[in-house]
């Protein structure tokens, strides 16, 4: 269950009173303001909103790539907002799988080697790593392309490899930033089907940012961000109180 009013005390992810302010050219820009969010395990949430509404900033904060100005984020009992940079890096390796719009694969490594990257940080043996990578690539339907380099794959296939890399270490949740933004409709459908399968079959928790209402419609819940405030539902009210709505 997803809540945006901060009334729930349990859940996989808890965000409380989250503020993020950037200072540019001597001016404070409030990207997120007093944001609350509760996400249960197995949820598939889409974040929508106009450009500059803070979607990617929220995703970066949830993924421990950035730190908030105020407020807290707790994931599976770990409050990440006060972790040191080193701890946060370790935490990301264990808990977060990232899927980027531009795939961000390492071009000089094969699909197999790209997917293996997160596992190189673990104590798994070579054989265990191989088994995990092959499983992840099978899940995304690319077992037969594992020795191809990114340049030898289509955009959709590259994104599948990215997803395989994101799930290979069995993270607590996946963060997808415009995962279909660079794909044609057919490929986008395939990627969304894959993400749905990860949620439905493999019980993954997925938080996704998208501009595309068709893509967002495939999520269990769509949340809208406007002027740094989170609101639930597909029909965005014009005026939303700080802290969101119940």
């Amino acid at each position: 269950m997803v809540k945006v009013d901060g009334s729930t005390s349990s859940g996989l992810i808890q965000v409380r009173d989250l503020d993020k302010t950037y200072r540019r050219a001597g001016e404070d820009i409030h990207v997120l303001q007093g944001l609350n969010l509760d996400v249960s395990k197995g949820e598939f949430i889409a974040f929508m909103g106009p450009s500059g509404s803070g979607k990617t900033t929220l995703l970066n904060l949830l993924g421990g790539l950035d730190v908030p100005t105020r407020g807290s984020i707790t994931v599976a009992g770990d409050e990440i907002t006060h972790m040191s940079a080193g701890k946060l890096t370790e935490w990301r390796a264990r808990h977060v799988g990232f899927v980027f719009q531009m795939y961000n694969l390492i071009p000089v490594l094969t699909a197999f080697q790209n997917v293996e990257l997160p596992l190189l940080l673990t104590k798994l043996s070579k054989a265990e790593r191989r088994s995990h990578v092959e499983t992840a690539l099978s899940v995304v339907g690319l077992a037969d392309r594992m020795h191809h380099f990114p340049r030898q794959l289509s955009g959709g296939q590259e994104q599948r490899v990215t997803i395989a890399r994101a799930i290979v270490s069995d993270p607590t949740f996946l963060l997808c930033d415009e995962p279909t933004g660079d794909l044609d409709r057919k490929s986008a459908d395939e990627i969304m089907a894959l993400i749905e399968e990860l949620v439905g079959t493999h019980h993954k928790t997925v938080l996704m940012v998208t501009h595309d209402p068709v893509v967002a419609a495939r999520a269990n819940t769509t949340l809208h961000l406007e002027k740094g405030v989170l609101v639930e539902g597909k029909n965005l009210p014009h005026s939303v109180p700080a802290g969101g709505v119940a």
């Binding site: 890096t89 370790e90 390796a93 980027f100 961000n104 390492i106 490594l109 990257l117 190189l120």
Partner: protein, 382 residues
Amino acid sequence: MKFSRIIWANITRKKVRLLLTIGSFAVALVLFAFLAVVRDAFNRGADVAGADRLVVINRTSIINLIPLSYRDKILRIPGVTYVTHNNWFGGIYQEEKNFFPQFVIDPQSQRDVFPELIVPDDQWKTFLNDRQGAIAGAKTAERFHWKIGDRIPIKTTLYGGGAWEFNLDGIYHGKRAQDDETQFWFQWDYFEERIPQAIKGQIGWYVLRVQNPDDAPRIAKAIDEEFANSPNETKTQTESAFAANWVKQFGNIQTLILSIGTVVFFTLILVTGNTMAISVRERTGELAVFKAIGYSDIFILFFVLAEALLIAIIGAAIGVGLSLMLIPALGKALSGLLPSIVLSPGMLVFGVGIAVFTGLLSGLLPGIGAMQLRVVNALRRV
């Protein structure tokens, strides 16, 4: 190592750039080896000098002669065990470019003072009995394809000029690799017989051995005091100091070589540092991904340093190979001008050490820059 594949994939992604960078390390190492062997050759006299040997020259300069009669007085000074004397001949064999040092020696004492230069006994015996006899160093004999029994004419503009003819009675070898095997020796008696009356009984310098090297300063002082206020005052110094002063005549070779070497490696740091910086900048997005998926800042620094180090090691290894091939050729080209050119393992290890250090240094700044990269900013740039 499980990360080696990533490091190798990264350095080989731009093959032309990789080859050029490796090439600059290799060329720098070859240049370093060239400079090191030339410097070593210049300093060889000091390095191979016997700790128990002193050289006595005319106080005014080495080109001023000193009387042969000093020999017995020097021998009487306590602590002196052997004395021999030499003259510089300065002749030309066939053409001026065929330079090699020719010394007039005293056959009776030469081997006592220079025991490290070995002449087989039978050849030495022939030499002693042959007034026009000569002994050549192995390198000079090889250079001119001389064999024992050859008649060797040497022209000189000194000592009344003309062509002097010698019989090659023997070939000497040094006990150690660094011993000078380019000299040409002939007999004092033959020399004195032909030189003008005015310089008869005059020698170029004495070389003497002392019983205890610790006594060298005392003995040197005693010799110079013995001949103080005479028409030919002396200057006595250890053989290594004499050799060092000889090298100084060519200018400050040490500083010159050090300066060139420093410039070469400093330039190398700039070139490779720039290459690594470009390489890191091109991969900003990839490095951000590494960080995002859990690679720590130290890992990122490790990757960049490892790449720089690997390039340096490959370049240095190629440089070592090229040096081993090219230095002997340099030695041949400079034969006679300098003592033997020897590329010692120590020099190579030092050169490789500098190359590796340079590699690490060139990777350090880009590596620190990569470490400090903020993931969100870097991903935004992709």
